[in-house]
């Protein structure tokens, strides 16, 4: 691999990977989930699963990318064998399907950033902009803007990603810290802190709290998505794996905690009476309908509103970049040049993201289907690592020369035993919940169990049928064959 295809420094890798991990889920989902699941008790379970799901899987992803130097499909083929290419295909498909609608979400953030900068949000009634904008052709336009930004960065390869991450991620951290400090210094903010941190120990006996905490880790830290694997392709040869994985896991959750403090302190300081309505308004309702109203009520709120949407835009765009790079890398592995690959990926993203831009129902459906699909991705990583040999992976890759920490056999147990149990439990729990009630098996119903199973079945059957093609095409074999024949 040439120098140009490597991160220039460890900090470039760490910042890019943090950019991947810190997304809108840290800012708009974490505060809501912690508020509706027992506050302090939830935080205990959330920290536990950082260590029992996120970090161990991040170590697997880093080691797959570093050892194989290939994207998701090639990495699964090289690490676990040709029969596992379809699993890599699933990982790539899931992240790419999420990229299609995530670009729409990034577009929303850009639109609200523009509206907060221009002062448009200052006099709007609550939800006024959202009602006229969400699902409109303007949302398709902002989706195109977000996609264009992502394409422009990935066009320049890993050095482009590194340069952008070095500006946006420190900027994001600074903005979130400023917003959290502003929130805790508002009169009445102590009630928000009390609500966030007071534990309800009885809740720790409820299975739901633990499953919500595991879900939050699965969705907002990014392990099992294949994105860390993709960035790990560009690690330097003598680069550490375990310390980087811990650093990114803790860094990501540090941002979530700051976001929780920022949102809940602002809510309790400005409008404590409406806290249940605010927390229960969903991700979009909280962010795009309530937050502008709350910021308007605090001194210099206009400035803090700009900071909030700027932070959200930074988080969304850096995550979008990693998803674009994942799909681009899979095409590069199959012999397509980077610039052609990113244009294909970006074009597909524009096209297949458009329905989500025009309909919140479509977006909700895709978020549901592929969000749960990520749990299957996590399971596939565990199975592929087992096939490679967990002890071998630990000794030869994770703890190899350059590692700053040595990972013990606890990691083998977590990845080999706990992760599969967690993944299967989560999938059953989410699908079981969706299966209650009328129309739950209807594949055309947006939030049903039936739509998940139908779309998964189509994808899995297609990937299994294409397994041989994927294994040959995306693991570098075809290119090696072409070189041999050409010679």
């Amino acid at each position: 691999m040439s120098q140009g295809e490597q991160f220039g420094s460890r900090w470039g890798l760490i910042l890019a990977t943090l950019g991947m991990a810190v997304g809108t889920g840290n800012i708009w989902r974490f505060p809501r989930i912690v508020a509706s699941n027992g506050g302090g008790s939830f935080l205990v379970a959330w920290v536990v699963f950082l260590l029992l799901w996120s970090v161990p899987l991040m170590i697997v992803e880093f080691s797959f990318g570093k050892n194989s130097r290939m994207g998701a499909i090639g990495a699964f083929t090289r690490m676990a064998g040709k029969n596992f290419a379809w699993m890599g295909g699933w990982v790539a498909l899931c992240a790419t399907a999420i990229m299609f609608y995530y670009s729409v979400v990034a577009g929303w953030c850009i639109r609200y950033l523009a509206a907060s900068l221009s002062g448009e949000l200052a006099n709007m009634p609550q939800g006024g902009l959202w009602e006229s904008y969400a699902g409109s052709w303007t949302a398709v336009g902002t989706h195109a803007v977000a996609m264009g930004l992502g394409i422009a960065v990935v066009w320049h390869g890993v050095r482009g990603i590194e340069r952008v991450a070095k500006v946006l991620i420190p900027g994001l951290f600074i903005l979130v810290v400023i917003l959290a400090i502003r929130a805790v210094t508002l009169p009445g903010a102590a009630a928000g802190l009390e609500f966030l941190f007071t534990p309800d120990w009885a809740k720790l006996g409820e299975v739901q709290i633990w499953l919500q905490a595991l879900t939050q880790n699965a969705w907002d830290t990014g392990p099992g998505w294949g994105l860390i694997l993709t960035y790990a392709i560009y690690m330097r040869v003598r680069e550490d794996v375990p310390l980087n994985a811990f650093l990114i896991g803790f860094g990501n959750n540090s941002v979530s905690l700051l976001a929780g403090i920022m949102v809940l302190c602002t809510v309790f300081a400005v409008n404590p009476g409406a806290r249940e309505a605010i927390v229960g308004a969903g991700n979009y309702g909280l962010t795009f309908e309530w937050m502008p109203v709350l910021f308007r009520s605090i001194p210099a709120g206009q400035i803090f509103m700009v900071f909030f949407f700027l932070a959200l835009t930074f988080a969304a765009v850096t995550s979008l970049i990693s998803m674009l790079e994942l799909a681009t890398r899979v095409l590069i592995d199959s012999g397509v040049r980077r610039k052609s690959a990113i244009l294909w990926v970006g074009g597909a993203g524009l096209l297949f993201g458009a329905p989500s831009a025009l309909s919140l129902t479509v977006l909700g459906n895709q978020d549901w289907v592929w969000g749960v699909g990520l749990m299957l991705s996590g399971l596939f990583f565990s199975l592929a690592a087992r096939k490679f040999g967990l002890e071998r992976l630990r000794k030869d890759v994770v703890n190899a020369e350059g590692a700053d920490l040595q990972v013990g056999r606890w990691w083998v147990f977590i990845v080999g035993v706990l992760v599969p149990v967690e993944a299967v439990t989560l999938m059953i729990w989410w699908l079981w919940g969706a299966a209650q009630g009328e129309g739950s098996w209807n594949p055309l119903s947006a939030g049903s169990a039936g739509t998940v199973l139908a779309q998964w079945t189509v994808a899995l059957v297609a990937l299994l049928l294409l397994n041989r093609f994927l294994a040959g095409r995306c693991s570098g074999e075809s290119r090696e064959q072409e070189i041999v024949e050409g010679a």
Partner: protein
């Protein structure tokens, strides 16, 4: 703020932010040691 919430805040923020800070310092030291070795 009640004392349980205060203790919990110190424990959770200490574990998450403190953990992040310690790991960051460890990585910084390691990078500086590696640079000395190669430089």
């Amino acid at each position: 703020m009640n004392s349980t919430a205060l203790v919990m805040m110190i424990v959770v923020c200490g574990a998450v932010w403190g953990g992040f800070a310690v790991l960051l310092i460890r990585a910084l030291r390691s990078e500086s040691a590696k640079k000395k070795e190669t430089g």
